[in-house]
Subunit: 371 residues, 2 copies
DNA sequence: TCAATAAGCTAATCCGTATTAGCTAAGGTG
DNA sequence: CACCTTAGCTAATACGGATTAGCTTATTGA
């Protein structure tokens, strides 16, 4: 099984030195002079041997390898949040292709749990069951998975890396940042004293705009339903809602944290309390908004009750809310990262917030005449 | 920004050689003897300096890079066939993570068209429009995209590669195979004299089984609706259908190729002709089966007409057909590839066919009493 | 007592590419 | 003719860690 050809092989074939091959193939001829005939000979030999540069070596010799990493803390191809992250990945891929970058998916700690012994790993299958499997390379997988830090460090084989996910493992990320490794988070981040570059979404403004619309339609008795989980994207939305509520002098008591199962009861109570509009947070799983939409099925919307979602629920284009520019999020993140890679000058971290597009929808109406 | 410490620094600090440091830190002490005191000194020094192994160097020094390529001829994150390829990718990622492999996504020629000049590329945006953009790295992108072969050769940066897509670019694949590069196709392949390793689906058997079920339910007047497009997965299904039809001594004329728009008319005519059951191919886009399900909306199914799909149409779990083990397809492909990578012994190409799970569904019934 | 072991460590290379510092031969200059 | 260019190329080395082939000293065995 012939080894992959290297520059030395081309050099031998073309009767030149490895240096010459490197110069010609990389196009780095600054100040160097090489005859056109040699150039052609080398290129021909490279073509014939099917030469492909080794990215690892390229990288070690401290150049670029045109690979950008994508590190997802769970799974790059999520099964449980079908449809939410996906458009972001599409955007990433598009822009990466456009910029001539390949994507390296670092399979984080998602698929694997700690191993029992050298030869066994517990793998969590997608349906939630845990299965025990033995594989040829479990050992390596376990060693790697043993520790988040190590997994994150691996990203350094790429020129830079996109990070993705709700939590920020501060220690390793700090380490990466400190070593000057280019990285960009997807989603707003305020950890590490704002030193993390990110491309996020302006949920504050978009959420405030939704509440403003309700207020303009005459609503004063509004409830905001949010998940119990704490993520920055959740608190940003809440901030937007509260800001809009405050400037409209609404009651500050509109925020309600609830689990999916409680939504039915809440809606009933709110109706009795004279609530005329409900705003619900859209999370990555989309279950909370789904629960609300289910709960209001017996009510005329927007005749009796106005409903708005802080985002866009799956399969419900008619609901008023806003569209998160997810594809653009991915695209932009790649661009910011590549900028960072190519500029290489130390400067302050780029932090970008993208605007959402309002969705008019048909679930916000004027306040119903009191019963 | 102080440079990260390397083994040499630890060696200096502990008063030993770099070799010793490597031995101790990697734990590869097979046959080597090192005193416990030295060991402790080195570990302490490493800890103190905050040593972290450089993954790039590690990989250069040990031939494998634990990256497997995924080459999709169009887009790794397809927008138009939402949901079909996705589970396969999920399976690939799961198994890759389990085996400690990272994934390198090679985006074939999908995202890019030929460039106009050195600095401009036409990028096809996802909604089908073509946009012109200028980017820092267009040149590289164009150079790469210029030619399929070059793109495919790049897959060699990984230890092996998974291929994905309807057509096989024989020349470059042949070249890869010839050079001993480990690769596995997803989907059955018969090109290149069967030298292509693959993990596919046994559509022949699964399709025959569906027809058998109809026959068992008493149907004799059956039509098989397939796409006009020719892919191996299509012809395999047709072979299965024909085989089952033949052994049941049905008319050979049951195969009908049609575009989505013609389905409505066909169904009407078939009903007049006394057809009692329709089988439709499920393609990656799923539009043909969708068209059929739409066309039979006015008909009682299975009361007046039995319907079966050779696959599983999206959002229609009630339809009789079979489930393609897509996740398993991805998983298995990774396993076969990693086997190939680690065994490295030349042997005949592994070709695997996975079985489908029948879906009983509720759209196959007994033949309706003739009107 | 002299060779054979073994214990504990290191020098030298290698992995594949990039880069810096020259080296050689041809041609031009004064 | 000695001296300098300049075009065209190469030797050497860096990058950081893995690995192979030894090289010292003690310790045994006969």
């Amino acid at each position: 099984m012939a080894r992959a050809p290297r520059q030395a092989d081309i050099a031998a074939a073309a009767g030149v030195s490895q240096t010459t091959v490197s110069l010609i193939l990389s196009g780095n001829t600054d100040g160097m002079r090489l005859s056109e005939s040699t150039r052609q000979r080398v290129l021909k030999a490279a073509e014939k041997l099917g030469y492909v540069p080794d990215p690892v070596a390229t990288r070690l010799a401290s150049a670029r390898n045109h690979m950008i990493g994508v590190y997802t803390f769970a799974s790059a191809f999520p099964t449980d949040v079908d449809g939410f992250y996906y458009p972001i990945l599409v955007g990433i891929e598009e822009e990466a292709a456009a910029l001539g970058q390949d994507l390296v998916l670092f399979t984080g700690t998602g698929g694997l749990e700690a191993g029992l012994d050298d030869k066994t790993a517990i793998r969590r299958t997608a349906d939630g069951k845990a299965a025990i499997r033995r594989t040829a390379d479990d050992k390596a997988a376990i060693r790697r998975t043993a520790d988040d830090k190590a997994a994150i460090r691996r990203t350094r084989i790429a020129d830079g890396c996109l990070f993705f996910g709700r939590h920020v493992p501060e220690e390793p990320i700090d380490w990466l940042l400190g070593s000057g490794f280019p990285l960009v988070y997807i989603g707003r981040r305020d950890e590490l004293d704002g030193r993390i570059p990110f491309v996020g979404v302006d949920y504050v403004a978009a959420s405030a705009a939704v509440v403003d619309r309700l207020v303009s339609a005459g609503h004063r008795e509004i409830r905001y339903l949010r998940s119990v989980d704490d993520a920055l994207s959740s608190s940003d939305r809440e901030r937007g809602v509260l800001a809009a509520a405050k400037s409209a002098r609404l009651s500050e008591r509109l925020v309600v944290r609830a689990a999916d199962s409680e939504v039915g009861g809440l809606v009933e109570r709110w109706r009795e309390e004279g609530v005329t509009a409900v705003v619900v947070e859209e999370t990555d799983t989309g279950t909370l908004s789904a629960a609300l939409l289910e709960a209001v099925k017996g009510v005329r919307v927007p005749g009796e009750l106005s409903v708005a979602v802080l985002g866009q629920p799956k399969d419900h284009p008619e609901v008023s809310g806003f569209e998160v520019p997810r594809r653009e999020l991915g695209r932009r993140a790649v661009r910011v990262l590549v900028d960072q890679i190519t500029s290489s000058g130390a400067r302050r971290p780029e932090q970008v917030l993208l605007d959402c597009t309002p969705i008019t929808g048909s679930t916000i109406g004027p306040v119903a005449p009191s019963a």
